[in-house]
């Protein structure tokens, strides 16, 4: 899949549109077996355009990540799919349904984890899950869910006394109560310590075996890389790239990273025959992209010798998703 340029690449856009057009043509109710279809979605808040012509489709049983910085339009998109917000333009289908028109049916088939809150502060995990279990015809056993998310020790502690990570895990368990076909997780691990995050990751991965489709938003690169079958990178409400983490990071180029005194001549580095481009990511940290890493190393060391520059910790590798993001959007992924 082509990933080039910092504007939404025409190739990506065209592919996504073609897929969604097909989906809509093939039937109102269950378009083409796709769990979620988004076509030309637009949402404005006053003057500000939060979502700007977004298109993508999610396959059944897929774990799909929306990755982007704060304000990229991730939460707005997910909340339109959940039925909380109305789109200003474009179309969405969720499990073949229109979230606005068929909300009542949709709510029996989805599970929702909001970005924060959503739970009574004076209620315990077991009480809250038990409450929700009465809302669905077929529901999970609250006790098993408590165990699944590792809250056994605090099952009878009031929500407001739980740690931030425990609160998030309860919200995740709550999203699973109704045995959903499709799960919406809005920044599921924000506020968790590394251990809780790892537990949550393995939990989300295990949902795959239950055949649950997952749409998650995140601004953790590692999260998208580990969990998602496909990642949609979003910036300023637009689709920047859409591919599997492997495809995104194993593009045809490699990288040579090295440490050296700050302020080296980037023009000279870019002029090396095998260099595609050169950047100083932080003072003294350099990255050169190349298609021929071995040749570039030879050129680089020769140049350093001539320029009297001492190169340290040279590393050759693929781009990380983080670097892909930086290259595609031109800015860092802020938390």
């Amino acid at each position: 899949m082509g990933i080039q340029g910092r504007q939404p690449s025409p190739a990506v856009d065209r592919a996504a549109r073609a897929a969604t057009r097909r989906a809509f043509r093939d039937g109102e109710r269950e378009p083409n077996g796709e769990a979620v279809v988004v076509r030309d979605l637009v949402k404005r808040y006053g003057e500000r355009v939060a979502v700007d012509g977004l298109s993508f489709a999610i396959q059944h049983k897929e774990i799909f990540a929306l990755l982007g910085p704060n304000g990229a339009g991730k939460t707005t998109t997910i909340e339109i799919l959940e039925g909380y917000r109305k789109a200003d333009g474009g179309e969405v289908r969720v499990l073949g349904l229109d979230p606005q028109r068929d909300g009542a049916e949709l709510r029996t088939r989805i599970g929702v984890m909001l970005q924060s809150g959503g739970i009574y502060p004076t209620v315990t995990p077991i009480e809250f899950l038990d409450l929700l279990s009465h809302f669905y015809e077929d529901s999970e056993d609250p006790r098993e869910l408590i165990h699944l998310v590792g809250l056994d020790d605090v099952a009878r502690v009031r929500y407001r006394q739980l740690s931030g990570g425990q609160q998030r895990r309860l919200a995740l368990a709550a999203a699973l109560v109704g045995k959903p076909e499709l799960l919406f997780l809005d920044e599921p691990t924000t506020g968790m310590d590394p251990q809780a995050r790892r537990l949550t990751w393995s939990l989300i991965s295990s949902l795959r075996e239950r055949g649950i489709t997952v749409l998650l938003t995140t601004h953790f690169m590692e999260e998208a890389e580990r969990l998602a079958d496909r990642v949609a990178i979003i910036d300023n409400g637009r689709l920047v790239a859409l591919a599997s983490p492997r495809e995104l990071t194993q593009a045809e180029t490699d990288e040579v990273q090295f440490t050296a005194p700050a302020g080296l001549d980037l023009v000279a580095l870019r002029a090396l025959p095998c260099a595609l481009d050169a950047r100083e990511t932080q003072p003294g940290q350099y990255v050169i992209r190349t298609k021929r890493p071995a040749d570039l190393l030879a050129e680089l060391t020769a140049w350093a010798r001539d320029a009297g520059v001492l190169l340290q910790t040279i590393r050759v590798g693929h781009e990380s998703l983080e670097e892909v993001f930086l290259r595609l959007t031109g800015h860092e992924l802020r938390e």
Partner: protein
Amino acid sequence: MEALLAQARMELVLTLRRAEGVLITLVVPAVLLVFFASLGIAPPGYARPVDFLLPGMLALAVMSTGLVSLGIRTAYERSYGVLKRLGSTPLGRGRLLGAKVISVVAVVAAEIALLLGIAVVGYGWRPGGSLLWALLALASGTAAFSSIGLLLAGTLRAETTLAAANALYLLLLLLGGIVWPVERLPGPLAIVGLLLPSNALAEGLRLSLGQQPGVPLAQILALALWFVAALMVASRTFRWE
């Protein structure tokens, strides 16, 4: 049905877990009843203090449940994102509202029982007049104050709702015919008092429970107007998140 009952039970549990809420809904009307009835101060026209006080305290109980307790609780549920979260479950807004109605009615019934018990046992009060009209007045009062509470909860921030509901409670308690007849308030305050929904409810109860019972049509109509007006505004302005 199962979902509605589970949610109603949760609403009741939440009501009881707010200690200050329990104080203002259950304890304050009972304490005021005992205090003023024991002082033996009755406004002219009432043979015994309890004849005047009991209807006022019943009205106060309805007001503190519908306006203060329900309003504040719902406002915080909104700010905690609970209303939003429940909105994505099959419970739906209709049943969520229904559960709140059930919990309010249950709490009001408990308060009525408590206050009647105190009045009967402590002060020899016996029901006169028409229980049917009294029940109608209580029902329309509960509807009116609950919709005012929800109106506050759905439009103001939680902290503002807390302050506004408590301020209204105090205002209605003093000027709204609860502990003192509005016609005995000084000039302009009497007019204000007459228009307040608490006065309509308290007077409606006094009329229907009095020794020479009257039909509190005007009061019930006034409460119905408050109900419809608050509900219409609330349904337009209520924000779920």
